[in-house]
């Protein structure tokens, strides 16, 4: 109990002192997860919309797979991307293993199903409501996709955010493909895992606090924006 209190106070001191080592770790984490979410959104939002709006053979299977992939185990994704990028792998020549780029790739794979599956649901629900009207107005298919994505923007933001939460909290994938190299590929989660095993609880705890604070702050911001917008736009 005494240890925990001491660790907590040291952790708080670290956080409030803006320890440069810690700041580097936080910055890398945010950049990697942010980039992964951005890429996943650029691919996943239109993909979800198209899945919601077009009928083709095998769509049902694809939707089930996508929903199932929302729960992909990060270590398995890490392993797959590792195999892809390892020296003997198909993309081995690019020399990406143990770089932030590799970490972005792995997290994109993790986040993409979440963004795509959730936006498919959002767009499908909107289409229920808008379908007749948009067809009556003669909107083309690309136009319908854009319109529904825009009108569903607040719900979709939540979907993207769920992706960010997933990416920033996972440790398995970035650990395997990044290698947790200090100053290069060390993120908050891999650092927490390492420091905990080394017994440096204050640093682990401090990073944990920051991680939780960060995710909470982002979610709170989106919640408030969404609420204000909903009240305004109906």
């Amino acid at each position: 109990m005494h240890d925990l209190a001491a660790a907590l106070s040291t952790a708080l001191a670290l956080v409030t002192a803006f320890d440069p080592l810690m700041l580097d770790i936080v910055r890398l984490s945010v950049l990697v997860s942010g980039a992964a979410v951005l890429i996943a959104a650029v691919i996943g939002l239109p993909l979800g919309a198209v899945l919601a709006l077009t009928a083709f053979p095998g769509r049902g299977v694809l939707v089930v797979l996508l929903n199932a992939f929302m729960g992909l185990p990060p270590v398995v994704v890490g392993l797959a991307v590792y195999l892809l990028l390892s020296r003997a792998g198909p993309l081995g020549e690019m020399g990406l293993l143990f770089t932030p780029t590799a970490m972005v790739m792995a997290q994109t794979v993790l986040v993409l199903p979440i963004v795509a599956a959730l936006s498919r649901q959002v767009v499908a629900d909107l289409w229920e409501e808008y379908g007749e009207q948009l067809r009556s107005l003669g909107a083309s298919r690309p136009n319908v996709v854009m319109t529904l994505l825009w009108d569903g923007r607040f719900s979709l933001l939540t979907a993207v955010l769920a992706g960010f939460g997933r990416a920033s909290a996972e440790v398995g994938a970035v650990m395997i493909v990044g290698g947790n190299i200090s100053g290069v590929t060390r993120t908050m989660t891999t650092a927490i895992a390492l420091e905990t095993s080394k017994g440096d609880l204050p640093l682990a705890l401090g990073l944990g606090l920051i991680l939780i604070g960060l995710v909470t702050a982002v979610n709170a911001a989106v919640f408030l924006v969404g609420q204000a917008a909903r009240r305004r736009m109906g």
């Binding site: 808008y130 007749e132 009556s136 107005l137 003669g138 319109t147 009108d151 305004r232 736009m233 109906g234």
Partner: protein, 247 residues
């Protein structure tokens, strides 16, 4: 061919029917809708009125019979031409989550109007339907009557040859109903063919040039309004009118 065409009408229905899941909802409707006049579709609930409008508008494909837009050129018009020259106003308008002005601009964009002209045209349409002061307001927070007028303004900028209205006033108060009826009159004066369903017989009398009466998915009669309201040819229509008047 389309350049000198005044209107895509008349619309000819030849034995049109619609069935879904083995249930026939509409069958054997043969009807000719001419330009100019206001056609009111009457009938009890479940008669197939809304369905008929959706089939005419092209939101649904008939499962039997066929529709033909003639345009007075003696041959069926291609779908793309027909699509652009009609509009529909629904019972509950579906407005986009953006301002009233942007809802109109959106349609102008779909029509391919150059960007710099859209604002002016949209404002003009809002003004015509008494919505000028609400241009910047989010469409979804407007009152029911305002939303329906916005839906009409949105249809107005399409300059349709034919306007379908599916019980456009059934959820509105008397003042808003009047505003909608006046708007329909504007369309009529501008030369737009009106095809409308309603449960309000007073409204039907005020607006109808001709009445199409449906019952149980069948066309029972189509006659000039004056004749229909004076003495409908069919027993079903008589019962319908009596029932409605007694209630």
């Amino acid at each position: 061919m389309t350049a000198e065409m005044d209107s895509i009408l008349p619309l000819e229905l030849d034995g049109v029917g619609f069935a879904v899941g083995g249930r026939t909802l509409l069958s054997g409707v043969s009807l000719r809708l001419e330009a100019g006049s206001r056609t009111i579709v009457l009938g009890p609930n479940g008669a197939g009125k809304s369905l008929l409008l959706r089939l005419c508008h092209g939101l649904l494909e008939p499962t039997e019979g066929r529709l033909r837009w003639d345009g007075g050129v003696g041959q069926p018009l291609p779908g793309a031409v027909v699509r652009r020259r009609q509009a529909m106003v629904f019972q509950r308008p579906v407005l986009l989550r953006r301002s009233a002005l942007d809802n109109i601009r959106y349609v102008l964009g779909l029509m391919g109007m150059p960007r710099h002209r859209r604002r002016e045209v949209a404002l003009e349409a809002l003004d015509r339907f008494g919505l000028a002061g609400l241009a910047g307001r989010p469409a979804r927070v407007l009152s029911g009557g305002e939303q329906q007028r916005l839906a009409l303004a949105r249809a107005w900028v399409v300059e349709p040859d034919i306007l379908f209205l599916d019980e456009p006033t059934s959820a509105l108060d008397p003042a808003s109903t009047l505003a909608v009826e006046l708007a329909i009159q504007d369309f009529h004066v501008a030369g737009t063919k009106i095809v409308m369903t309603t449960h309000d017989l007073g409204q039907a009398r005020r607006l109808a040039d001709e009445v199409v009466f449906l019952s149980h998915g069948r066309l029972v009669e189509a006659s000039p309004a004056a004749r229909f309201f004076k003495g409908p040819a069919s027993g079903q229509a008589r019962a319908f009118l009596d029932g409605e008047l007694v209630c």
